[in-house]
């Protein structure tokens, strides 16, 4: 008998036996979600126009997923949205140095239809997927194509993830004769190209970590034709670095802590940090299982180089008073729940989002941004497995 430790040699060899191929899901499922998205009214004391009511969006989502043959899986989704309400058109500083908000006068009523089809092929050591998505509104059309893939290495403890997508959007603002911005935007295109590279690593039986870097390039008409004095560059490069950690814990009937951080940077001068924490707690009641997930998110960003609250900026200068380009911070608190029975599961989710200039961690400004929005969403849904 050899004197080397057989235990370590055998254990290593045993670990090196590859597990079976990632198996294609075998469940055929139908899902339905209703989501109500409600923005809080804009502040009366800062709103110049009579209208203070903001967007209310109702979303109906139908999903169908099915295996095709042994190794293919197809996910499809149809979404129908109805929007109503007004949106901010400009924020400017008045003579007293106060920020004043202009809202679109007429309440907008709009519909949007989204269709998504995503086939995926499962191989012994990874997956390859595609995505075709189309979105139609009366003033906006979008078509997107994507490819994604995963590759398992080191006995499936490490997964390489990659994806690539392109989109081509076309603007056709309602009532183009109403403003020069709308006339100019009519028929203009907006294109995007995105690439993501990531790595997922199993740390031990109870935890995994994923890191990734993403790049997106936007070109074309990137201004908002419905806003006043909105003139943005026709290109935007965006980079993100992200890290996610998942830790399973033996608390009650099982729990998992998901934490993630994302850093974002673009060449418009905006950088942002996002921190997410989620605790998914499982409770078993006989044949029923409840997964309750409280979550909290913090977001902070700096303002774009051309963000300004000038009432009448030089026409040729880049300019925007869009609150989404200002320096601000935001908190989201939420609670997701899923009740699983044998073939049916029910979902109830709620989230409250609050954003403020003063919550910005970096580059906070004294200027008020009264258009910064607070909103809440409520989702109810059901999944059915055939």
């Amino acid at each position: 008998m050899k004197k080397v430790t057989a235990l370590s040699a055998l254990s290593a060899a045993a670990m090196a036996i590859p597990t079976q191929a990632e198996v294609a899901p075998t469940d055929e499922t139908f899902s339905y979600r209703y989501t109500s998205y409600q923005e809080a009214d804009s502040p009366r004391e800062r709103t110049f126009t009579a209208e203070t009511g903001r967007y209310q969006i109702d979303v109906q989502q139908f999903g169908y997923r099915t295996p095709i043959g042994e190794s293919w899986y197809l996910a499809s989704e149809l979404q129908y949205e109805t929007m109503s309400g007004a949106s901010p058109t400009q924020t400017y500083k008045n003579d007293e140095g106060q920020s004043t908000l202009l809202m679109s006068g007429a309440s907008i009523e709009e519909q949007r239809v989204d269709i998504k089809v995503a086939p995926k092929k499962y191989f012994d050591h990874g997956t390859a997927g595609g995505l075709l998505a189309a979105s139609i509104e009366n003033d906006y059309q979008s078509l997107a194509l994507g490819l994604d893939g995963t590759l398992d290495i080191f006995n499936k403890h490490t997964t390489l993830i990659g994806s690539l997508s392109v989109s081509n959007d076309e603007l056709s603002p309602t009532d183009p004769e109403l403003s020069t911005a709308r006339t100019e935007a009519d028929g203009r295109k907006k294109r995007s190209f995105s690439v993501y590279q990531g790595i997922n690593q199993v740390i031990d039986k109870f935890s995994t970590v994923q890191m990734g870097v993403g790049y997106t390039q936007l070109t074309g008409y990137l201004s908002d034709p419905y806003k006043f004095k909105d003139n943005r560059p026709e290109a935007r490069d965006q980079i993100t670095f992200s890290a996610q950690h998942k830790q399973f814990a033996n608390v009650l009937d099982g729990a998992a802590l998901h934490s993630s951080y994302r850093y974002y940077y673009d060449d418009w001068g905006i950088s942002s940090h996002t921190l997410d924490l989620k605790w998914a707690q499982q409770f078993n009641f006989g044949k029923m299982r409840l997964i309750a997930t409280p979550l909290v998110r913090y977001y902070t960003q700096t303002e774009a180089d051309f963000y300004s609250l000038q009432e009448n900026p030089q026409a040729e200068d880049f300019n925007s008073s869009d609150y989404r380009l200002s320096a601000y911070g935001a908190f989201t608190v939420g609670f997701n729940s899923e009740l699983k029975l044998d073939k049916v599961s029910f979902h109830f989710d709620w989230q409250q989002y609050i954003s403020r200039e003063s919550l910005a961690l970096f580059g906070a400004s004294d200027d008020e941004a009264p258009a910064l929005v607070n909103f809440s969403t409520f989702t109810a849904g059901v999944d059915y497995k055939f």
Binding site: M1, K2, K3, V4, T5, A6, L7, A9, L10, S11, A13, A14, M15, A16, I17, P18, T19, Q20, D124, K205, N250, D253, G254, N284, G286, K287, R289, L341, D342
Partner: protein, 284 residues
Amino acid sequence: MASPCKFLLQGEEALIEKACLQAQAEVQRIEQKFSRYRDSSLLQAINKNAGLKATKIDAETAGLLNYADLCYQQSDGLFDISSGILRQVWNFKSNTLPNENAIQRLLPLINWSSIQWDQSEIFLPKKNMEIDFGGFGKEYAADRAAEVFQSLGIQHGLVDLGGDIRIIGDKVDQSGWTIGIRDPKQPAQAITQVTLHQGAMATSGNYERFMKVGGQHYCHIMKANTGWPINFWASVTVLAPQCLVAGSLSTLTMLAEQEGASWLKEQEVPFLAIDINGQQISCL
């Protein structure tokens, strides 16, 4: 599997039912792929092509061959997956010993080191050569079944494939799973019990298949170099993180006979070895 296959699980019933079906399917998959009794198995294809041509293999099979190779090296050739052919002359139901000439005729066909293989194919160079994974297939299946349960979120349970045990996770109350170790003299009874919270336990025993001829005990575990059964240990039980490893450590110890005790101690794993006189060496 020829031996009883048992899952002990705690948790939500609906999830357990679903997981059991998948774990069972995984055990059956391994059996069908590597069974020497099924004509359609990959192993049969490899053996039928002996002396004729190479057979394509997948990564899982290559991983198992690599494991078998390591067992061969660690045992100085006493453990050889091409030794199953000895079944042709050793019939434990006949209660008669095989003819020594018949054994000698088979020995040239038992030679793992002559087998050519790599990650994508294997070639057995002589006609009538055979390989099988009987020496560790059951233990491997126990590990895989446990991993299926773990991947589906089952946290409390164990897989028991004919006495080869792999823990999925401790009991809900963390009191551990109590498992009996067979008494080799009276295999229906336990000689002692161990409590396992994690890992695996496997036993090799001379009582599984054997015959007594002229008062001498002849069991199914045979030395590849002589073609004759070992006759020193009655049973060796080993605890290790993986059932596959626990099983190989116990089988290799059985094969090493007297030297096995010191070799097993060097592995620093909990074990119980009982020799044919009933003498125990315990490190549990």
